[in-house]
């Protein structure tokens, strides 16, 4: 009788679950194509590191303004995850025992690994129970922003009752308790079962439960409790299973594939659109996202790590990555039927893509301002424990706004037009490109085509007055070290990085192609640049245009020069700065993992002390200029650079060092607005070196 009842229960639950999963999978497969089956080795490594070792949960993260318990919460998750993983075997045991008495999964049989396994399980159940209590405390008492949202952008979490979170926690707790009742009860009423006897001493906690049950009500109560435990345990598992795909707990099923399929291409490479054959030029409808982007939506755990690191959220803009993701997910679920009914997926290259739902970019769902607020700093992606990607989605939607609707902040028109005509976002005549080099006797590629290194200056270094000084410093170092280099001078062209990040892929591609042609005209093999944005695009994106160069950032290069003794530094430079803090550029650091080179250089300068900000290295906060934000207006009370400068000043520095011309502009501007000019200045690492050449 009970077997039949249990079987019916199981079949019903699995049928409903199967249907939901079938629909979710079908929706996923309607997504636009994306090749994520390469680099399998790296993918497996990611799974081991991020999924199983839960690296991003337990790592130490700076979270100014929030309590330290965030890392504790990470450990909590670690134990719940491993608790469930370990428990899975017992779940199989308990389900199978509905049909086969005393079932054991090989090799977890009593004579083999059964004992040690049960010991582990016994402890894990108790630990998980503790974790559940802690989680309830966080939800009910502590109310951290990570759970209730980062205002003002994140408002959707604040008003909710979060009954789902409580329910799931109760489920988890009940699974642990009912498991204990089942095991403990058996020890009393099945005391003469040889298996039970063998298990008894491996499970001290269950044993105690058994002793208590026996003491209170004897074998009768023990049997009742054990049976009840078994039913409750299995019933909750079945309900839980069905809740997964309907809630944020879907991640329990999707996190593994999500980590496995995470981006392994260079982080700084955006997809190259096929503009000639496309029928749409950006993402505007829910079914135009790729299947991996849909998987991201499924997988978001709503943990809030992304928003807690987002400079746009922190500076009060309308963007909070978690909210963006959840809004997309809700919309996708709402339109599941329509997505499924569409004949073909949202692949932009398909003949006539069937677009589903309304245009989601705009007031309907994702406001323009949300998309424009992003600096593409990648802090969110770095923080996300399951490697969800944001920048690609945001740029895809920007591509729609810019290319299909020509709708963007008015000030960008000038930027685009300047790039189109003068070939640089500053709108300064190209003949001024080598003005910085006047009188410095810098070799030109045209005169020395065999130069070993092309020093690609970039627009900021060539046209912006403050950054020209950095460019001169780089040239001075290269000359002092006897490096065989040359510049393109007037021939140099912008690589279009800004246009691509803003979403003007068309403009980017034409600029990148022209720029690459000029470089290829000289048979260049090695490129040196001091601009992280140029560095990233030349290194990671030019291969999309047939440009394969050995690209090195000036900090890496100069570090080598110092190590090789080709550059010697003294302690009596003109700069009085003694105590220096270094601000990481997103495109040098997070995107390309150049964290140590600038720091090593600074450390090698005699008499200089390097201090670190709380948010540094991979958690460094953006200066606010990336993603084309450099060219967009920013409300005075919402400036990212002001916040960053405040953080820098906390370290009481004499100067703030940067290794990026955009960071230079932003930090310099932030310091000046605090009237600190002459007291705390922004300096480029190259300037410090040039200043102290022995």
């Amino acid at each position: 009788m009970s077997t039949i009842l249990f079987l019916a229960m199981m079949v019903a639950a699995l049928a409903v679950f199967g249907r939901t999963m079938y629909r979710r999978t079908a929706v996923l497969l309607k997504g636009a194509p994306d090749d994520r089956f390469d680099n399998v080795g790296e993918r497996i490594q990611n799974v081991l590191l991020y999924a199983f070792a839960q690296k991003k949960f337990i790592q130490q993260e700076p979270r100014p303004g929030t309590s330290l318990s965030e890392q504790t919460a990470g450990w909590m998750h670690f134990f719940i995850f491993w608790g469930f993983t370990i428990l899975a075997i017992q779940v199989v045991h308990m389900f199978a025992r509905g049909f086969v008495e005393d079932f054991y999964l090989f090799p977890f049989t009593p004579g083999l690994l059964g004992g040690p396994y049960l010991l582990m399980k016994d402890f894990m159940e108790v630990i998980v129970l503790g974790c559940v209590v802690y989680a309830l405390y966080r939800w009910g008492v502590e109310h951290p922003k990570r759970l209730y949202g980062y205002k003002p952008a994140e408002d959707r979490l604040a008003g909710q009752s979060h009954w789902e979170a409580y329910l799931i926690l109760c489920f988890i707790g009940s699974i642990m308790i009912s498991g204990k009742l089942y095991d403990g009860g058996r020890m009393v009423f099945e005391a003469d079962n040889a298996h039970v006897q063998a298990e008894m001493y491996w499970q001290p906690f269950s044993y105690m439960v058994g002793v208590a049950l026996g003491g209170i009500g004897g074998a009768g109560l023990a049997e009742l409790a054990s049976d009840a435990g078994w039913w409750i345990h299995n019933a909750i598992i079945l309900v839980f299973l069905n809740l997964l795909p309907l809630s944020k707990h879907f991640h329990i099923l999707t996190f593994l594939p999500n980590v496995f399929f995470a981006k392994t291409k260079p982080k700084g490479q955006l997809s190259k659109q096929d503009l000639e054959n496309a029928t749409s030029f950006g993402t505007s409808h829910i079914n135009q996202f790729t299947w991996k982007q849909v998987l991201d939506m499924y997988s978001c755990t709503e943990c809030g790590r992304c928003s807690s690191h987002c400079p746009a959220t922190m500076s009060g803009k309308e963007l909070a990555p978690r909210q963006l993701m959840l809004n997309l997910r809700d919309y996708l679920y709402e339109n599941e039927d329509t997505v499924l009914a569409a004949k073909q997926n949202g692949d932009a290259s398909a003949e006539e893509p069937m677009l589903v739902g309304e245009n989601i970019v705009g007031d309907r769902l994702i406001k323009d301002e949300v998309l424009w607020a992003c600096t593409t700093c990648r802090a969110c992606e770095e923080a996300c424990p399951i490697m969800i990607e944001y920048v690609d989605k945001i740029v895809d939607m920007r591509r729609h706004l810019v290319q299909e609707e020509a709708r963007f902040p008015a000030e960008l028109t000038r930027t685009f037009k300047s790039m189109e005509t003068t070939g640089n976002p500053w709108g300064i005549d190209a003949s001024d490109r080598e003005a910085w080099a006047k009188g410095l006797d810098i070799p030109l590629m045209a005169d020395t085509p065999d130069a070993e290194y092309l020093y690609y200056v970039g627009c900021a270094g060539a046209f912006d007055d403050r950054n020209k000084r950095t460019t001169q410093a780089v040239a001075k170092i290269l000359k002092a070290a006897g490096v065989n280099f040359a510049i393109l001078g007037k021939e140099e062209l912008c690589n279009g990085e800004t246009a691509r990040r803003i979403g003007n892929e068309y403009l980017f591609q034409s600029m990148a192609e022209m720029c690459n042609e000029v470089i290829q005209g000289y048979n260049v093999k090695k490129i040196l640049t001091n601009c992280p944005h140029c560095f990233n695009t030349l290194k990671n994106e030019f291969p999309q245009f047939g440009g394969d160069y050995d690209v090195v950032h000036a900090t890496e290069f100069v570090r080598e020069l110092i190590a090789d003794g080709k550059v010697e530094l003294n302690g009596n430079g003109a700069a009085t700065s003694k105590r220096i803090t270094y601000h990481d550029s997103c495109y040098l650091g997070r995107y390309n993992e150049v964290f140590d080179a600038p720091r090593d250089i600074l450390k090698s300068v005699p008499g200089l002390e390097l201090t670190e900000m709380e948010r540094s290295r991979k958690f460094g906060m953006c200066c606010g200029a990336g993603g084309g934000r450099m060219w967009m207006e920013e409300d005075a009370d919402k400036r990212v650079n002001f916040q960053r400068v405040d953080q820098a000043l906390e370290t009481k520095p004499d100067a703030v060092a940067v290794a990026c011309p955009f960071c230079m502009t932003m930090i310099d501007d932030g310091l000046k607005s605090k009237n600190l000019e002459g007291k705390v200045d922004a300096v480029d690492v190259m300037e410090i070196v040039a200043d102290r050449l022995a």
Binding site: Q403, F408, A410, K417, S418, T421, D429
Partner: protein, 264 residues
């Protein structure tokens, strides 16, 4: 209703213009060209008017070298319907251009002509007025609008020139203020800088523009006397700016302004 809009090819306004040594012209090597910004505003205005009138057609016209096709394509990408390019190897004066435009406007049967009040490279500000005279149409020059370029009307793309029936209301920028006039149509309207913010062409717009009609005519075949009455005899660059100098004190500054600059 056909709206004819002029599109002149001019050097990029960001470019540093260098005058040839002999003063016969400017150095055109490596020079980038754009749509005359005033004409771009005229195109924008025509497109906005078109959006409010059913059956309206926006026809672009350019007089100049073959390369002006590039600028016409830019206008087509913004949304104009088709374009006419009248090529001429010889340099035309304002009257010559006005005569060509007269011919095109008549042949096309245009009902309104919108054009920039001047072209940024020669600053002549004559062609519109001459064309109105040749067509014997009324003219409204320096069209502007009351609303600011940051206003909601502007963001919504409301035309600044109000057309009702066979007349148009034009707000003109005059010294120290605005003047609103009403003119009968057809008319020649020349536009000023503050009339609108021209749109940025969308990618589908650019793609479509490649397939739009661009008719090429040779000025010489039009049977008009184009011999210039006005000739540019010499160009000379402005005097080079002297480098600035840092002074040590206020006293020194006052002294320098008084004794050297004779400013105070």
């Amino acid at each position: 209703m056909k709206i004819l809009v002029t599109v002149k090819r001019v050097p990029d306004y960001n470019a540093i213009i260098k005058v040839k040594g002999d003063g016969s012209g400017i150095v055109t090597e490596n020079l980038k060209y754009v749509v005359n910004p005033f004409d771009e505003i005229a195109v924008e205005e025509a497109l906005r008017i078109k959006a409010t009138v059913s059956g309206a057609e926006v026809v672009l016209v350019s007089v100049g070298s073959k390369s002006a096709a590039e600028q016409l394509r830019t206008g087509l990408a913004m949304g104009a319907d088709r374009a006419v390019l009248v090529t001429s190897d010889d340099e035309l004066d304002s009257l010559g251009v006005a005569k060509v435009l007269h011919k095109v406007a008549t042949d096309e049967g245009a009902g309104r002509v919108l054009m920039g009040k001047l072209a940024i490279e020669d600053d002549a500000n004559q062609t519109g007025q001459m064309l109105a005279a040749l067509l014997d149409w009324p003219q409204a020059t320096f069209a502007s609008k009351v609303e600011s370029l940051e206003s909601d009307e502007e963001k919504k793309g409301v035309p600044g020139i109000a057309i009702s029936g066979e007349s148009a209301q034009v707000v003109r920028e005059v010294d120290g203020g605005l003047e609103t006039i009403e003119t009968a149509l057809p008319a020649v309207i020349t536009v000023d800088l503050r009339l609108n913010v021209p749109r940025y062409a969308s990618l589908p717009g650019i793609m479509k523009a490649r397939k739009k009609e661009l008719k090429e005519l040779a000025a010489g075949d039009l049977g008009i006397d184009l011999a210039p009455k006005v000739k540019v005899t010499k160009l000379s660059p402005p005097p080079e700016r002297q480098a600035g100098r840092k002074v040590e004190s206020v006293e020194e500054l006052v002294k320098a302004l008084h004794d050297e600059a004779k400013a105070i």
